[in-house]
């Protein structure tokens, strides 16, 4: 175990952890939810308080108006007694029930007073001097034997005023209600909200923290496992939560990806070992031939050496070509597509020195759309294969039949057992008996050929040849419309 990091190393570590914390989805989500909720709740609280206050004030105002108007009406109708009676609704002449109720309540909670020149008329004072003084000084005259507070202003009171004309002159009736009970109620509501809002926000934050924690727990598990998976432990998988949500999908997708990676890595390993084996054998064969010949140059059959070296070199070149082509296809990095005349490729490939006689009288024409290099590999590999396994004869044919170009290479070799026909197209397939390594082995050629044919939307299969061996048949979509009006010369 190495010593834990000390000194300056720990500082960025801690900073990094803090940043990681702030950047964590859980923290951010909880924070966002709390802030939004707190903001919304605060706004709603302010609205609520104002609404309550407005409604209460309005109620009082309506009641005061009702009281003031009822009293004024009675007064104008010549019924001043109403202002002194203990229960004005009893004395009133034309008052309905709601008015009477409003007056009864209003007189309990409100202060009624009069002002103006005519107020002496309604003054409850029996002392005439007192009445005169009130008129002269313009002092407000309290009614219903209530004391007047020292100051009545619109800040602390809701006041309704009604003007009444009397024989003595105009007077103004005031009905004033203190705002204090309303303010007390509003205060209470505010205080309650002041505690309730933070408590609710806190509860929501905790809930969000818990829920995100629960939702994200599988992510941490996946992260931890994924971090532990390296190229040598590709058999491990991330834990899959049972849920079918995004995280469950993520875990399953990751595991599918790991499956592919694992099999790709497997293939790669097998491929490298097979390819190096395959490359090594011609190289060592060349070296051996030349070395032994050089040891006794005078006895060596140099022509035979040359021929072997050439053959091994061709094998090497074909292998390198195939490896490159395969790598390029696997990487998805292919050459440009164009119209390709397969007959040209076949004639080209047949121009090199061959070890068996090849009947090419069946080679007509076939134009396909594809990558020239790749199609060349197809032709070369099938010819190589036939050449390797033929006893003495190979027949090549090419023709266009309807929408398909059919390319066929037959040999008179031992053929391929029907139950092994799929296996031949596997990479470095090693079939025992006849098609053995000694004859060059299937190597990569047929696997690559199949792959190329399939990327060109074609198919490849093996049949029995009339020559006695195998017939490898490739069918590719024709790039030409079937000829309709081209007459034959005959």
């Amino acid at each position: 175990m190495s010593a834990p990091p000390t000194g300056p190393l720990t500082v960025p570590e801690r900073g990094g952890r803090l940043v990681a914390l702030v950047e964590s989805v859980r923290v951010r989500l909880t924070f966002a939810v709390s802030v939004i909720f707190a903001g919304a709740l605060t706004l709603a609280s302010f609205g609520l308080v104002r609404q309550v206050e407005g409604a209460l004030v309005n109620d009082v105002k309506v009641r005061n108006d009702t009281v003031a108007q009822a009293l004024a009406r009675e007064l104008a109708a010549g019924n001043p007694d109403i202002l002194t009676s203990a229960d004005p609704s009893q004395v009133a002449s034309g008052m309905d029930r709601s008015e009477a109720e409003a007056i009864r309540q209003g007189l309990n909670e409100s202060i009624v007073y009069a002002s103006g020149p005519g107020s002496a008329v309604v003054s409850p004072s029996t002392n005439i001097f007192e009445k005169i003084r009130q008129v002269i000084t313009g002092e407000a005259v309290p009614l219903f034997s209530k004391a007047l507070p020292s100051q009545i202003d619109d800040q602390d009171y809701v006041v309704s005023r009604v003007k009444v004309q009397t024989v003595q002159g105009d007077l103004v009736l005031h009905v004033a209600s203190s705002l204090e009970p309303i303010n007390r109620t509003v205060d209470r509501v505010q205080r309650a909200l002041f505690f309730a809002v933070p408590a609710l926000v806190g509860a929501v934050a905790i809930l969000a923290w818990m829920m995100t924690g629960r939702a994200l727990r599988p992510v941490s598990a996946i992260t931890a496992r994924a971090r532990a998976i390296t190229s040598t432990t590709l058999d491990q998988r991330v834990p899959e939560p049972r849920s079918d949500d995004e995280i469950g999908q993520l875990a399953r997708t990751m595991n599918a990806m790991l499956d592919r990676l694992e099999s790709a890595s497997e293939r790669q390993k097998r491929f490298v070992s097979d390819a190096s084996h395959e490359l090594r054998s011609p190289v060592s064969s060349i070296r051996l031939q030349v070395e032994t010949a050089l040891m006794h140059p005078e006895q060596a059959d140099w022509e035979a050496v040359g021929r072997t070296v050439l053959a091994e070199d061709q094998r090497l070149a074909g292998l390198v070509d195939n490896l490159l082509a395969l790598a390029r296809i696997e990487e998805g990095q292919r050459g440009p597509q164009s119209e390709v005349d397969l007959d040209d490729i076949v004639h080209d490939q047949l121009a090199r020195p061959l070890s068996v006689a090849i009947d090419r009288s069946g080679v007509l024409a076939g134009r396909v759309y594809g990558v020239r290099d790749e199609l060349t590999s197809v032709v070369r590999n099938l010819l190589d294969n036939a050449e390797r396994h033929a006893a003495s004869a190979v027949k090549v044919s090419l023709s266009t039949v309807g929408p398909w170009v059919r390319f066929c290479v037959e040999d008179d070799g031992p053929g391929v057992e029907p139950n092994l026909r799929d296996k031949v197209f596997e990479r470095f397939a090693r079939l025992q008996e006849a098609r053995s390594r000694d004859a060059g082995g299937a190597g990569l050629g047929l696997a690559l050929t199949k792959r190329i044919v399939e990327t060109h939307s074609g198919r490849i299969f093996i049949e029995d040849s009339p020559l006695g061996g195998a017939a490898f048949v490739v069918e590719l979509p024709s790039a030409e419309l079937p000829a309709d009006d081209d007459e034959s010369v005959g």
Partner: protein
């Protein structure tokens, strides 16, 4: 500078001298010395006269002298790469047939080689037998080639730039289609036998199905005639093919 020019002048003089003895002169531009030497030795054994240089610029200067009948040009070269050499020569209207050696390393491809004006290409590693066959074909094509454009009505075939157009429309043809059309247009109004076309276009050693001629005649019709509502390329039953039998005015 002067030393270099002197070499060029001397080489050119030598080329002019060797022109007289009839051998096909091949310039091999290839930087891999062992490979170039092997090719030169092989070509000389096959009766060619071969000269090798290992640098693109040197190859360009020698090719400009016009003292060679054929050129084998590698792509990766010091001094100047093969594509540039080829393009420069074609821009300067030097039409020596060029066979390009391409390597399948993914960076360059054969279509590109033909685009720069090369006449043929061969990818490394190549068989010497195939190289010789290709060079012979190139030499044959050029030696009997008349480099004047062939015209029939609005169809024009340029043997030098290997292009075909009808009116203003360029018609891209494959090398085989081009050779077939060229063979037919050299005998406007005459019936050319199928076997003659086979010999001329596919080579006398052709061993495939002779009906390939019909297929290619079909390809050609679909490119030069049908899109233009023409019928210049005719089948003469039992005899062969005739290009331009109907007088242009009649169509």
């Amino acid at each position: 500078m002067t030393g270099h020019s002197l070499v060029v002048v001397l080489r050119a003089a030598w080329e002019r001298r060797s022109r007289q003895n009839g051998a096909v002169r091949v310039l091999v531009v290839e930087d891999e010395v062992a490979l170039a030497d092997a090719v030169v030795r092989g070509l000389e054994a096959e009766g060619f006269e071969a000269t090798a240089v290992h640098d693109g610029l040197e190859g360009l200067e020698l090719a400009r002298t016009g003292g060679f009948d054929l050129m084998v040009l590698d792509i990766m070269l010091p001094g100047m790469n093969g594509y540039k050499v080829c393009r420069t020569l074609r821009d300067e209207e030097v039409w020596t047939p060029i066979l390009m050696l391409t390597a399948k390393d993914g960076e360059y491809d054969e279509a590109e080689a033909l685009d720069t004006g090369a006449d043929d290409f061969l990818s490394k590693p190549f068989s010497f037998v195939v190289l010789v066959a290709r060079l012979r074909a190139l030499a044959r094509r050029r030696s009997d080639a008349n480099l004047q454009p062939l015209e029939f009505d609005d169809l024009v075939l340029e043997p030098v730039s290997r292009t075909v157009r009808r009116g203003e429309t360029a018609i891209p043809l494959s090398p085989r289609e081009f050779a077939l059309l060229e063979a037919l247009m050299r005998h406007v109004g005459e019936v050319v036998a199928k076997t003659d076309l086979l010999d001329r276009v596919w080579g006398e050693d052709f061993e495939g199905d002779p009906n390939v001629v019909e297929v290619y005649i079909g390809y050609l019709r679909r490119k030069i005639d049908r899109p233009f509502g023409r019928n210049d390329l005719e089948t003469v039953r039992g005899e062969g093919y005739r290009f331009g039998a109907v007088s242009p005015a009649a169509s």
